[in-house]
């Protein structure tokens, strides 16, 4: 017989295992992380995240090349400065992908399908935010790692110091990722319409950044360095740099860095408040959407 037939074997009950909350949370996290890079989606969803992922690597690769050719270790970009120097690319990635995670389920009314299952509201939100944080962390940590590895290969001096700076910068990357994800997902969750989310996230990143720089410039002109320093709290990248400089011992990159450990702690508290506030707002937002 060369032909085959499909036999309807009828409905079979599922008697197998049903895994608990940890498994569901992990599955949800992986699902969202894949979505952040367009995996499991049509090819055009992959273009933007992977293109940005490549672009963000270019300065690091070029820098490592320059260091190894010229043998001038001082040319190596500070690990902690890298995310700030490529902040526009990171912000575009956030604007492009935060709506994928935070708006899509709302736009397509998929949220109730999760909450009619054994998925908790908080778990759902945490998985989304954690996935966005992880994606952003990867985006920044990979080029920083390229810098570090390149430095090792080029045999830059003071290896031990470099390792310390590198690890400090990774903590910084994580903090950048948390702050940006917190802002981006909340903004995207309130702009479910296609395209609006992207514009809104960019606006929320760009406007404070520009405004803060403006005020800082005026303050500097008037030699009011206290104001200049504390204004740094209100721009996302500057905010995290305060923590990097004051608590992680990194050299200064952003303009306004308030003095002492106090400045660092205040900045860290702001970061924590942003993260906590974001989860709380998202929780309320998705809980409501689950009932619509």
């Amino acid at each position: 017989m060369t032909t085959s037939t499909i036999h309807d074997i009828g409905y079979r009950r599922y008697e197998g295992r049903r895994l608990g909350r940890a498994y569901v949370l992990r599955s949800l996290f992986v699902h969202n992380l894949r979505a952040a890079f367009g995996l499991g989606r049509p090819a055009r969803s992959k273009v933007m995240p992977f293109l940005l992922g490549l672009i963000v690597l270019v300065p690091a690769l070029a820098d490592v090349g320059a260091v190894s050719i010229t043998h001038r270790p001082e040319l190596l970009i500070h690990y902690s400065a890298y995310p700030i120097q490529v902040q526009v690319i990171v912000a575009i990635f956030l604007a492009a992908q935060a709506p994928v995670l935070a708006s899509r389920d709302l736009r397509h009314h998929t949220v109730p399908l999760y909450f009619s299952r054994p998925v908790g509201h908080l778990d759902y939100v945490l998985a989304k935010v954690a996935a966005m944080v992880t994606a952003l962390f990867a985006l920044m940590a990979v080029p920083v790692t390229v810098l570090y590895a390149g430095g090792l290969i080029a045999k830059v001096p003071h290896r031990a110091d470099h390792l310390g700076h590198y690890l400090g910068a990774l903590v910084g990357c994580a903090l950048f990722a948390v702050v940006l994800a917190a802002i981006g997902t909340v903004v995207a969750a309130f702009t479910p319409r296609r395209g609006f989310g992207v514009a809104a996230v960019i606006a929320v990143y760009l406007l404070p950044t520009v405004f803060v720089r403006l005020v800082q410039a005026i303050a500097e002109e008037r030699t009011d360095f206290t104001l200049e320093a504390w204004m740094g709290l209100f721009a996302p990248f500057n905010l995290v740099d305060i923590v990097q400089v004051r608590l992680l011992g990194a050299p200064q990159t952003a303009t306004g860095i308030p003095p002492g450990v106090t400045g660092g702690l205040v900045a860290l508290a702001v970061c924590a408040a942003l993260a906590g506030g974001s989860v709380a707002v998202l929780y309320a937002r998705f809980r409501k959407a689950g009932l619509s």
Binding site: G10, Y11, R12, R13, Y14, G16, R17, R18, L19, G20, Y23, V24, S27, L28, H31, G40, R41, P42, S45, R104, D105, H108, H109, T110, P112, L113, Y114, F115, S116, R117, P118, V119, G120, G290, L291
Partner: protein, 314 residues
């Protein structure tokens, strides 16, 4: 054991009362929840899923309390919303696998169940294409598949025939019947169309304005009529007069006669009448009450009537 039992369930929103002191017990099987749009059907489902706390009253689903055991209810039920709820850029397979994992099914089981379920609802090769390109009928099938993929004990289907053409409607109704009869999964299906639920349900609950109008086995609705439809090829009026003369309550309706059954001998009178008058009998049929009559009846029965006997196979 009843699959759903509510007691004095009331849900007030700032401007409307969605449910008003609803007390109803629903047996296993395929159960229709009928009511006009805005009668509180969707609100009831959300409350029964344990997602929306009612203003007052209590309810149990599968013997689990909605207020305290919502999570356990949601492990054991499936839900198909009435609105569009599918991401257009995922394939049906991927989406249903994901939804299976959200119910705790391990990866390989999730894939296997998703493939099985999609086949059962009638999606084959197209299941690998993004949902965005699907017809309404196919989308409804995906929505149904995601509600069934984790093998629930009970599914809530909210207006599953909405937006379907007549053929799609028939297929969906046949599927619902299969879920109840072959899959052994209890179904609570809502619709604002009584006629279609009558065809697939064992038991029907009618709500209006958040109040219970009636809860009864379908058999009870449809056999209580006690009337026969008699159709003869020619001589409808002759037969009508013949029966009337013998004290049978009869009146014409369209091309046939409607005869009230007074007792066993009514059947004999019709048979003999047709034979004596040498008419050709086309149809002699138990006239079934249409559930629609619940709405047109002058006086609705008092709310809270006991559910009728569970419907047998029809």
């Amino acid at each position: 054991m009843p699959i759903i039992a509510t007691q004095g369930l009331t849900m007030r929103f700032p401007r409307v009362t969605a449910l008003d002191d609803l007390t109803v017990t629903v047996p296993e099987g395929v159960v229709g929840l009928v009511g006009a749009n805005g009668a509180g059907k969707s609100t009831l489902i959300k409350i029964l899923l344990g997602l929306l706390p009612p203003t007052s009253g209590r309810a149990e689903v599968l013997g689990l309390d909605i207020a305290r055991e919502g999570m356990r209810i949601r492990e054991r039920v499936g839900f198909m919303p009435e609105y569009e709820c599918l991401p257009p850029d995922m394939s049906a397979t991927e989406f249903v696998v994901h939804m299976a994992r959200m119910c705790g099914l391990p990866p390989s089981a999730a894939r296997e169940r998703a493939a099985d379920t999609l086949r059962h609802v009638g999606l084959y090769e197209e299941r690998y294409r993004p949902i965005g390109g699907y017809s309404t009928g196919m989308r409804q099938r995906v929505k149904l598949a995601q509600a069934l993929v984790h093998d629930p004990s009970l599914v809530f289907l909210d207006e599953p025939t909405n937006g379907l053409d007549p053929a799609g409607r028939d297929e969906m109704l046949a599927l619902i019947r299969r879920i109840g009869a072959d899959f052994g999964i209890s179904v609570l299906v809502t619709s604002h169309l009584l006629g279609e639920l009558e065809r697939v349900c064992d038991h029907i609950v009618v709500v209006d304005g958040g109040r219970l109008l009636r809860s009864q086995a379908v058999d009870a609705y449809t056999t209580a009529s006690g009337a026969l439809t008699v159709e003869v090829e020619e001589g409808r009026d002759v037969l009508g007069r013949h029966l009337h003369d013998r004290g049978v309550q009869v009146h014409p309706e369209g091309r046939h006669l409607v005869v009230q059954v007074a007792g066993e001998d009514t059947y004999d009178l019709i048979r003999d009448g047709v034979a004596d008058l040498e008419l050709r009998l086309v149809r002699l049929e138990q006239r079934r009450h249409r559930i629609e009559e619940v709405f047109t009846e002058q006086q609705a029965p008092p709310p809270g009537v006991l559910p009728g006997p569970p419907g047998g196979p029809r």
